[in-house]
Symmetry: C2
Subunit: 111 residues, 2 copies
DNA sequence: TCGATATTTAAATAATTATCTAAATATATA
DNA sequence: TATATATTTAGATAATTATTTAAATATCGA
């Protein structure tokens, strides 16, 4: 999930996602929307793929990219949980002067 | 909005948001949840504040941080639009061999 | 098989971000 | 007012990320 958030932090990559929401596109078609070189776009596509946000499939000379909404919906879930728009999840609210329940051992632990 | 996405790209900052969802907390209380130094946490809080995700208010010696869900809901909206969970928005789908409608002039344009 | 097209990978560099220690600022309290 | 506590700011460095040019790989079509 961290990879997904990191992938979404870049405006170029978010725009690529929007382009792929409309329809599947080849790497070259995607690159045509930006001022960046093709290798740069390829790098961004690689980041999106690594995050599980897009899939690619070679079709002859071309490589066609498509959106994978599965992970995107996981991230959506993170927001829904947070904004309370989804469910009323909030296990045992902490009281005013309570000590912290635990100290995180790692930045990576639990999102 | 780009600032928000960038702010959310860091796991420490996401955890801070979760902590503030439970209740308002002082900078020191927040720092106690992490292994990082206080200045580092202060830096993360500053990033969250700059993104409009949290607010701060001095209370005597302390500075109390609280969640501002407004921007968070904007970001949520971005996902809803994308996953189609919200509305059926998708103005004029492009046909298979169509040329790009326009070339983006800047990476920052439109998310 | 050869040349053209599509795309990625490699290597280098530039830019950004995270983190620390030390110092500065603000408030409270003795 | 002096001292302690809470927090931020400054300055330095390390780590990560973005970008480019050049080279490599894969496929197509003559």
């Amino acid at each position: 999930m961290n990879e997904s958030f990191k992938a979404l932090a870049d405006p170029t990559r978010r725009q690529i996602i929007r382009l792929l929401r409309e329809k599947d596109r080849t790497a070259g078609e995607i690159a045509d929307y930006f001022q960046m070189t093709k290798p740069s776009i390829s790098h961004h596509l690689s980041a999106l793929k690594h995050a599980g946000l897009v899939q690619d499939e070679r079709k002859g000379q071309f490589i066609v990219y498509s959106l994978d909404t599965t992970v995107l919906e996981e991230v959506l879930g993170w927001f829904l949980e947070l904004t309370g728009a989804g469910k009323n999840s909030e296990a045992e609210p902490t009281a005013a002067g309570d000590p912290p329940r635990r100290k995180l051992q790692s930045d990576k632990e639990e999102l």
